[in-house]
């Protein structure tokens, strides 16, 4: 361990009862100035990681290093970490100004400096006129901005955010996402952000760590997570995917052949076992071509259209393919797409690299359903 990243988790585990683990063998490095998101369904241990880093919980095993020194034994008030909580945790008996002054008074700064810093922080979140109000007199979005200002006002080295936008409505949430990103880049502060909303993670993060049942599945940039999921859980959690289960009949480093319902699909091997074992193929709905010119795609199969759903900027086609129904295809709403009706027989085609063969064993028992509309938009954004 010669040179350390700014924040480092070394094989951290946390168990409250000694039997089940909330966090298991968690390792992660975060560089100074980086924005890293812990993404996962509820109960995946992401908030526990945050609490251990903030010092509210102690790891059962493993070490956490902050700024090149271990902090397992350091009290929360000596860590100099700003935390934004899910329900803001503003102090209801203090005014907004007093809330912001609290961390500065705790650091025994001179009164003039405190006043100046508080006003600057209020300006930063455009709430200068609210200093004398109490938190209960502010709207949810305003309270959230105060909570963020309070976590930044004492210029911490690191800011943690625990689902800070969870209680806001969608429009406000999107607005705040950009505001958080803008602040983080302007102040060049290191940020670790927890959310179960993959859209949020995509917009904000330099890197995303996808967590499942206390472990990290994959840590990568948003693009890499979407385009190159290493595990089925990630493929399902980020964006939308068609899953096709099949048996591996042959595999090379660059390509494998998988038998599904008596036909062979050519796929890109990511995490597969020996021949004859089962695998799960994932294909993004927007990477499926409808009635492609012949010989353009190595995978081409006949399918029957079950349903067509108009989504505005794109169409969603549900088709029966290879003996399974509800195979989803997204086609952009451009000139000349029309003419397909439910019951028609069509050809669907896709590339080998867009069809990733992942390990069945890593499938999450309950994939979380996502808002498909948001996913689609984000998906195409990331692709551009």
């Amino acid at each position: 361990m010669t040179s350390h990243a700014f924040v480092e988790f070394f094989n951290v585990s946390k168990s409250y009862d000694g039997q089940t683990f909330s966090v298991l063998d968690f390792s992660l490095s975060v560089e100074r100035g980086e924005f890293v998101t812990l993404l996962g369904p509820s109960g995946s241990g992401k908030t526990t990681c945050l609490k251990m880093l903030a010092g509210f919980e102690e790891p059962s095993s493993g070490e956490i290093w902050l700024n090149s020194r271990p902090v397992n034994q350091v009290k929360p008030w000596k860590r100099n970490i700003g935390v934004v909580f899910q329900h803001y945790a503003l102090f209801p008996h203090m005014t907004i100004g007093e809330n912001l002054a609290f961390p500065l008074q705790a650091r025994r700064l001179p009164r003039d400096d405190i006043t100046r810093s508080v006003m600057r922080a209020l300006d930063m979140v455009q709430l200068r006129d609210f200093a004398e109000r109490r938190p209960a007199q502010l709207s949810g979005g305003q309270q959230q901005r105060v909570a963020i200002a309070r976590a930044l006002v004492f210029e911490p080295d690191l800011v943690l955010m625990d689902e800070p936008l969870g209680a806001l409505d969608r429009r406000l949430r999107e607005e705040m996402q950009y505001e958080i990103r803008r602040l983080q880049q302007r102040l060049e502060v290191t940020m670790i952000y927890v959310t179960h909303d993959q859209g949020e993670a995509m917009v904000l993060s330099d890197r995303v760590a996808v967590m499942e049942q206390g472990r990290i599945c994959q840590v990568a940039s948003p693009e890499a997570l979407y385009e190159e999921p290493q595990r089925l859980f990630v493929a399902n959690f980020i964006g939308e995917n068609n899953q096709v289960e099949g048996r591996i009949v042959n595999h090379d480093p660059d390509e494998c052949q998988v038998e599904v319902a008596g036909q062979i699909i050519r796929a890109f091997p990511v995490a597969i076992d020996e021949n004859d074992s089962h695998t799960c193929l994932t294909i993004r709905p927007e990477r499926v071509a409808l009635n492609p010119p012949p010989d353009l795609y190595p995978n081409c199969f006949e399918a029957e259209v079950e349903d067509i759903i108009f989504m505005g900027d794109h169409l969603r086609i549900h088709a029966a393919l290879l003996g399974r129904s509800q195979f989803i295809v997204k086609i952009p709403n451009v000139i000349g797409h029309g003419g397909i009706l439910p019951g028609d027989t069509v050809t669907l085609g896709w590339l080998v690299t867009d069809c990733r063969a992942l390990d069945l064993k890593q499938a999450s028992p309950q994939p979380i359903n996502r808002n498909t509309t948001v996913n689609t938009n984000l998906g195409s954004e990331q692709l551009l």
Partner: protein
């Protein structure tokens, strides 16, 4: 529709309203009346009192007054109301009981010579102005005397308000003692109850439920049992003294007196009233999210500072409610001091009970009760002024 709903609401509240009127407002009103209105003497000796209006208040009244007094005393003896008359007059001027009772008995045998001579013959007291002044004083139907007595004041022979002689001033000090003891009990309850409430509010659910049951168990035990168990524990040959002697902290011949005095009252009442402190504080604490302390600590405040500036202020509404509850209960508490208070541990309510049950001076008992009521009301208003009743909460 609205009218129907309103009628329904009134009908629903009717039984309670009736109950409160009969069991609460009516007795309270009657007691309040008694503290001011005392028609006893006026009812027994109406004519004597009417005749005494002519009297100048010094010297002796006319023969006619003596005659009326003798007749009405005789009537009172026949109707067996003379005992109450004697008690009432005795309360005004001590020694009057025997004067009246003896006169009543003697009048039966006396002839009807001029009463202004016969009565002083029966008892020389009738030859003094004092007894007539006492009759005039006690003859007023509406009287401030009970309130004056409750405040250690009395009327002198000219009708002026003066302080009681030193040896009869008991209630002023008693009121102050009662308020002081109640404050001490409230503070003891707070000192013991706040940490317990904290523990219950912040333990894991199972533990917290168990602790809560432990707090509530005393409610299922008779107050009498709880109070008498303190006698078992604290008496001179009791468990605590035995333990102290066994360990050698206290010598056997110097066992501590911890019961039947003020210590006993303080200990037992603190125990009895503790749940009333713990429960409101607990329910307010439960409404304070755990992240509040975490937020304060992450912002750089160490535990004591975070507690002082963030947790404590948010728990104050519960503290206020608990203190008010305990204080008001303590100031009127009767049974525990009566059982374990001995001589020195008696509070104002014990004297009220004494006047109701033993001395049968209901007027004074009522006046003491009303003074207590007003004192509590004033403290309540003071509390509202200083801390604000609207900030008080019994739950989150």
């Amino acid at each position: 529709m609205l009218n129907k709903a309103r009628t329904g609401a009134i009908l629903l509240a009717l039984p309670l309203t009736a109950f409160i009127l009969v069991t609460f407002v009516a007795p309270l009103g009657s007691m309040f009346m008694r503290s001011l209105y005392d028609p006893l003497v006026a009812d027994i000796m109406p004519e004597t009192l009417a005749a005494l209006e002519e009297w100048d208040g010094t010297g002796l009244p006319a023969e006619q007054v003596y005659a009326l007094a003798a007749r009405e005393l005789g009537l009172a003896r026949e109707e067996k109301t003379i005992g109450r008359l004697a008690t009432r007059l005795n309360r005004d001027t001590s020694g009057m009981r025997s004067v009246i009772m003896r006169s009543g008995r003697a009048l039966k045998r006396a002839g009807d010579a001029p009463w202004s001579e016969t009565l002083p013959d029966i008892n020389p007291a009738w030859g003094e102005a004092d007894i007539w002044q006492a009759l005039v004083r006690t003859g007023a139907r509406v009287t401030p005397i009970y309130y004056l007595n409750a405040l250690d004041l009395t009327l002198d022979s000219d009708g002026g308000v003066v302080r009681q002689p030193e040896d009869r001033r008991i209630y002023g000090t008693l009121f102050i003692k009662t308020i002081r003891v109640s404050l001490v009990i409230t503070l003891l309850c707070l000192a013991i109850g706040y940490p317990v409430a904290w523990l219950i509010a912040h333990s894991p659910p199972r533990m917290s439920r168990m602790l809560l049951v432990l707090v509530l168990v005393p409610f299922w035990t008779s107050l009498l049992v709880r109070t008498t168990s303190w006698i078992v524990l604290l008496q001179q040959q009791g468990v605590v003294n035995d333990l102290l002697v066994r360990v050698g902290i206290v010598a056997d011949e110097q066992r501590l007196t911890m019961i039947h005095n003020m210590t006993g009252t303080l200990v037992a009442m603190t125990h009895v009233l503790l749940p009333f402190m713990i429960l409101p504080i607990y329910s307010v604490m439960r409404g304070i999210p755990a992240v509040q302390m975490q937020a304060a600590m992450s912002l750089g405040a160490n535990w004591p500072r975070a507690f002082r500036q963030v947790y404590l202020p948010q728990s104050l509404p519960g503290v206020g409610a608990g203190c008010l509850l305990v204080f008001i209960l303590a100031i009127g508490y009767y049974i525990t001091p009566a059982l374990v208070g001995g001589q020195s541990g008696q509070l104002i309510s014990n004297f009220i009970a004494y006047h109701i049950q033993t001395s049968l001076n209901w007027g004074l008992a009522a006046a003491l009760g009303c003074v207590l009521f007003v004192a509590v009301l004033l403290l309540f208003l003071l509390y509202d002024r200083v801390l604000g009743l609207d900030r008080m909460r019994l739950g989150a």
